[in-house]
């Protein structure tokens, strides 16, 4: 039933935009991706598993689209010109004193391996349960837990400045 579908999907759209933009950096590319995702969700709504969580189902569609988009464009998110990306598309309307710290945090996120970044974003920002994250990424729940654990540990090191970033990106600064 179309009404039910709209009622279930509509509240998720802002979160889909946020996840897409966190991965793609570019506002219009991310919104294109979300549009593509919504069209597929509408088209295949009746084919989804009725016992599954629609949120996990839609995030799975979006995640797969994002990964193939990133692969097609021949880059992983870490290769984006971060300064440009954050000044434009990812600029945050945060309180002034938090702004720099958030910027550094988003830089640090970009230095995580892609599989850790995606798990961290889905769990902490998008509030997917561990089981739903496993479903969305099509990986075992144990893998979700180990990636989450490694992501947190690595991010902490990156933010405290005592880890060498895996890429040779020059823009990471310590906030301590």
């Amino acid at each position: 039933m179309t009404q039910d579908m709209v009622k279930l999907i509509e509240p998720i759209v802002p979160a889909l935009r946020r996840y897409a933009r966190a991965l793609l950096k570019d506002r219009s590319a991310a919104d294109d991706l979300v549009q593509d995702c919504l069209e597929r969700a509408i088209e295949h709504w009746h084919q989804r598993r009725k016992d599954g969580n629609p949120r996990a189902w839609i995030f799975a569609i979006l995640h797969n689209l994002a990964m193939s988009r990133l692969r097609r464009s021949g880059r992983t998110p870490t290769h984006v010109a971060l300064d440009d990306a954050h000044n434009e598309s990812l600029s945050v309307a945060a309180r002034q004193e938090d702004h720099l710290q958030y910027r550094d945090l988003l830089h640090a996120i970009d230095l995580l391996p892609e599989d850790q970044r995606t798990v961290l974003l889905l769990v902490t920002v998008e509030d997917l349960s561990y089981a739903d994250t496993a479903q969305a990424l099509n990986i075992p729940i144990g893998t979700v837990m180990s990636r989450l654990s490694r992501a947190r540990e690595r991010l902490l090191k990156l933010m405290s400045g005592d880890a060498q970033p895996q890429s040779d990106h020059p823009h990471l600064r310590s906030v301590k």
Binding site: V13, L38, Q47, L65, L120, N138
Partner: protein, 258 residues
Amino acid sequence: MSTSPITEDDLNAFVDNALDPTRHAEVIIYLDSHPPIASRVAAYRKQREHLRNALAPIAEEPLPPELNLARLVADQHRPRSTPKWAMAAAVLLLSVGGIVGWTLRDMDLRSSTGLELVAQQAANSYRAYAADGYRPVEVRAEDRAVLAQWTARQLGRTVAIPDLTVSGFRFMGGRVVPTDQGPAAMFMYDDDKGIRLVMLARPMWADSDLPMSPYSNSEINGYAWFDDGLGYSLVGPVEAARLHPTADEVRRQLRNSV
């Protein structure tokens, strides 16, 4: 009362407020007596909060019109019938392509080059049609019989439409596509996550049967084989480990259909 040992998973679930109240309390007691771990967990909590705050504004932006769900629904439910004249014109063009292609058919070498060519043509169809969010297939799954007639007429022989439900892929529909060697049948499938596969089949006049061989081009993997005078290829952005059994299933069904 003895409790089971605190795990790294418990600590993460504690950070995410995902523990049941009993375990949550146990973790608090544990952290009280382990200050270094407590400070790491506190840092994780802060990290979590900052990450949410940093990205929250994106979700608060007003939605652009193209993400209006009601409008997207309305767009998709609009009838997509093709005028008869357009269908006729397409068939005519394909016939012309077929005649031109006829003279080029012996370009199918009796070698693996022919296999690769079929896989390439399938990959080209994938790129052109699978990425099309609006109209990936000309004839949709519900008009399977129409599609079967159309491809049979254009290819000069019947190509069965495999059912890939057991491999997790649904049949979406298909069309006739042009190749240098004449018209080919293109069938499209997708899974729950929107990943699409393209199967291509066309007559191979110069080749005898050839076993299945893998193909890979950037993000697209594929398998191609020749069976009973037809060249087949199944391609998609799927790892070979998943695609291979699916291609085996296609071949098995096509052999049984003869």
